[in-house]
Structure formats: structure tokens, C-alpha cells
Amino acid sequence: MGLKTADQYEESLRKMNLKVYLLGEQVKCPADHPIIRPSMNSVKMTYALAQSPEHEDLMTAKSHLTGEKINRFCHLHQSTEDLIKKVKMQRLLGQKTGACFQRCVGMDAINAVDSVTFEMDKKLGTQYHDRFIRFLKMVQEEDLVVDGAMTDPKGDRSLPPSRQTDPDLYTHVVEKRKDGIIVRGAKAHQTGAVNSHWILVMPTIAMTKDDADYALSFVAPADADGISYIYGRQSCDTRKLEGCEIDVGNRQFGGHEALMVFDNLFVPWENVFMCGEYEFSGLLVERFAGYHRQSYGGCKVGVGDVLIGAAALAADYNGAAKASHVKDKLIEMTHLNETLFSCGIACSAQGHRTASGTYLIDLLLANVCKQNVTRFPYEIARLAEDITGGLMVTMASEKDLRHPEIGKIVEKYFKGIASVPTEDRCRIMRLVENITLGTAAVGYRTESMHGAGSPQAQRIMIARQGNLEHKKKLAKEIAGIKD
């Protein structure tokens, strides 16, 4: 098939039978649910832009497996140029959606699983890599969305998986059969899970021998028996049920996370890529996290572009655009945003080939990238709120603006400069609200903090990769200290 159109993607989702719960009810058709649909629209954009001549150079790639043109989200990076194009593609999609477009987590998962299964097979004589490549060919040929699933609920953080009071707090094998395995547990914070065709499960931390049952990687159809989803709430999510356009801030696009639950899920052996090889779980976590920390140097930058644009428009509409401090704040926002992009590009340009042929980012620079992402979007958001003004959170509702009587009052008193309609001013303020503290803030703020690992996880990696001994040698040489 090659590339699916956006509509074919939506059709394919409608044929699936996912068990999704939201606000205490099972959802009949996620694609039609007003809270879920904007997130599906964001994923649809990954298909739509791949069809566009103006964007195909970033959105598509040539499969090294089949030679066919495929969506870049299904591609294994074959060069540093591929790694760079990935970051640029993510920035583009952030710009087009102003939200999390969810498909990166699967792309990062397939790239990590590829190189790790290859190396695992070489060392242990297992046969996971061939299975994985068979799966990947199907993903590429059918242009599928894969949800990379890593983060376990983890229960008591002071205890390893095997010593938790409830063993299901980490996803694990409960039975090994001749034809496959039975899995129980859950994955938390699963970005885009409900918009995915398949899930690719990976272990959540480095494991020891005692945790071998938890060293587990496999794929399953997203609607397999034994998988259910509990949809995550987002700030202001029920505004989408009000039938308004302005108050939601971003009417068309959004992101989502869900708790993914495995209740005695059966997985045939051909879909298992790790089962008990605990010594490789840490490597898989490190590589997936590295790719995902690179990703944030693209996607958050694209959303940042939208937020900076919105803040600049708010300044225009407020009549404050010429104030020097406003100009300076916009410069600072741009500086921070482009610094994130620089990190994303740098860790890609410094990438290297792994044994399987797939390219990996520079792990030190990817961790520096993500460490900056845990901070800069917060500062960009703070400056956006500063420029936009308090009305962003005290403004009347769209229903008030449309009201036959009080609408005139809202129109009169929420007016900025004379040449701009009050409605436009309301729209831009609601967009800033959406990204900084509404539904999109899940992706732009807290996901920037904790997604792909919380700040301390990057600091541990920076300490490991920082080559401090080399720096000491340099200092000794300059200072004339002899060992």
C-alpha cells in the first residue's frame, strides 16, 4: 500500500475495536468523541503532510528494507541526515497542529528495538531481530501508527519490580506457553495509544536477574483482547463538550495520554522481542529514551513557534507591540526556542551507526536537549502569559460574546486596538491559554518536564556521558600538573 491518506487512516481506526473508557463510560467510537477527535486529527496530519509535495522531503523516506517510499514515522534512520530530517519533521508538525501529534513515540520505539534486538541476538543467540523486521515491514507497507509503550506505573519507587506488593505494577510475563506468553500489568501515560494500530511494549528500567519476568518487549494489535485503555483527563477538556469554538483555544488539534491495561493478554511468540533477557533491558531503555529526548528538540519547538506567534499577535491586538520590553520578551522566547532546536539538530548531526545499521543520536547531546526542554518551555510559557495579559484567564466565554444582550458589552469592553475585532483578540488569548494551561499544556509543559524521563534521569545520563576524566586531564595539562 505504501502511504495511506489521512482519510484512509481514519477509516482504518474506525474498523478497530478498542476498549476505551473516558469520564466513567466506555466510548463507542473514539474517532467521533469530541474530547478524543482533536487528538486523532493531529495524527491525521502526519498522513496528510506526507501526501504534500511541499513537505514530502521531510515527511517521507525510502525504506532500506523494501526501497519503497514510506512515511518517515515508519522509518529506521539510515544516516545522520535522516536523524536531522526527523527533528525538522517534528518541528513542522508542531507548527501545523500546535499540539502533540503522538506518532513519535512509536518511531523512537522501532528504532531502539531494532538495534537492541540485533545486538541481543548476536550476543545471546536469540532470534528476535528477524521477528521484529517482519513486523516492521508490515508497519511500513500498511503505514501504521505504532504506540511505543515503556512507562510502567511503578508503585513503590524504592522497590524493584520483583519486590512490589502488587506484581502487576510492572508489566510482566505470568505464563510461558508453547505458542506464546500471557502478560499482565499496565503502561501509564501512553501518548496516542487510542489513535494507534499496534502497541510496541518495552521494559521500563534496567533489570536484574530477579526481575527477568519483567524484561519484556512485544507487539500486539491495539484492540487485542486483554487490552483496555483509561483515557487521561486534561485541564479544560470538557470545554470540548460545550460546542464552542473559541473557548477551546485549538478547535481542531490536540494530544492525549491513556493508561493501557494488560489483563492476561496473550502474545504469540512471533510478536515477542524480549522475554527474560534482563541484561538488555537497560540498553533498550537508554536508546529509546535517547531518541525520545531528541524528539523533543523538534516537536516542542514547533509548538513553541505557534505560542511565540500567538504572543506576538496578542501584543499587536493589545496595542503593545512597539513597547521595548515586549519586543525583548519575544526575542527571549525565540532565543530559548531556537536553542532547543539547536540541541535537537546537534544530537542528530553527531549521531552514529549501530551494529544493525540504524543510526543513533549522540546520547550526551540528546540528554542536554531534553534537560533544556524541562525548563525552556516553562519560561516561554511564562513570557507568553506576561505579554498576553491577565485577560487570558478572566475573559468572558464565547457564549457571552454571542449573547444577544451582553454580547455587546463583551464586544465593547474586551476590545483592543480598533482595527482588530474583539473576537479575534479572544481567539488568540484562548490559544495562549490552551497551550500554557489548557489541554495542550499537558504536552507543552508537564510532558516537557516528565516525558522521555524526568529531569534527574537526564542528569544521570549527562554525568555518565560527560567524559569528566578527559576534562580533568585537559585542566592538568594547562595548569602544568604532572601525574
Binding site: E54, D57, L58, K88, R91, L92, Q95
Partner: protein, 111 residues
């Protein structure tokens, strides 16, 4: 080529011209509008081609959103005998304001 000469221009004599875009991650120009503008003003001696065309283009126009021109790669270069490179506010590495880009490209097509 104008007037009657245009009408008499046989299809086989027309030059094949094709456009390729960069991915557009952070364009400083409106690439789609620029291409529309150029296409609208193309004389009849040119026929638009796609990268699926069986024959090599006479002229390719690479439309990149910024100066890095990241799409300028050997893979693309084989598509056409001659290339005009638009990269942000520049044509063939010479600076130009966005409003003049189409005109400069059309003049280069006459060469």
C-alpha cells in the same frame, strides 16, 4: 516567445520544467504562493513536469524555505539538466526580497 510564435510552439519543442520543495520546517518565504506565482506567469514554451515524468526535466526549480537549502542533494540534481535554486530570500545564492523572487526566476528561465 510571444504572440503567434507561442501558438505555434509545438508540444515536443516545449521545455520540461519541474519543481521540488524542501520539507518546510521553518520557511522564511511562502513557498507555495511563490510556486503558484511562477507557474501562473510561465510562458507557453514550458510544460510542467513531475518527478514521475519519464524524461529528465530541462529545468528544475528547487524551492527551499531558508538559506540552508537542505534539500539540495544529488538525488534531486539528477531529475533535471539545469537547476535554479531558491533558498529563502535568495535565488542561486544571490540575495533578493521575497516580492522579487518570482520575477528573478522567470528571467533566469529565459537564459
Amino acid at each position: 516567445m510571444t504572440g503567434l510564435a507561442l501558438m505555434n510552439c509545438k508540444i515536443s519543442e516545449r521545455k520540461l520544467i519541474g519543481f521540488k520543495y524542501c520539507g518546510g520546517c521553518n520557511p522564511v518565504i511562502n513557498r507555495a504562493q511563490l510556486v503558484q506565482d511562477i507557474q501562473r506567469r510561465l510562458s507557453a514554451e514550458f510544460t510542467l513536469a513531475t518527478d514521475q515524468s519519464p524524461t529528465q526535466w530541462d529545468i528544475g526549480i528547487l524551492v527551499c524555505g531558508c538559506l540552508s537549502a537542505c534539500a539540495d542533494k544529488p538525488d534531486f540534481r539528477n531529475l533535471a539538466r539545469r537547476w535554479i535554486i531558491i533558498a529563502g530570500n535568495s535565488v542561486d545564492y544571490g540575495d533578493a526580497p521575497e516580492k522579487d523572487l518570482a520575477e528573478i526566476v522567470l528571467n533566469k528561465l529565459k537564459l
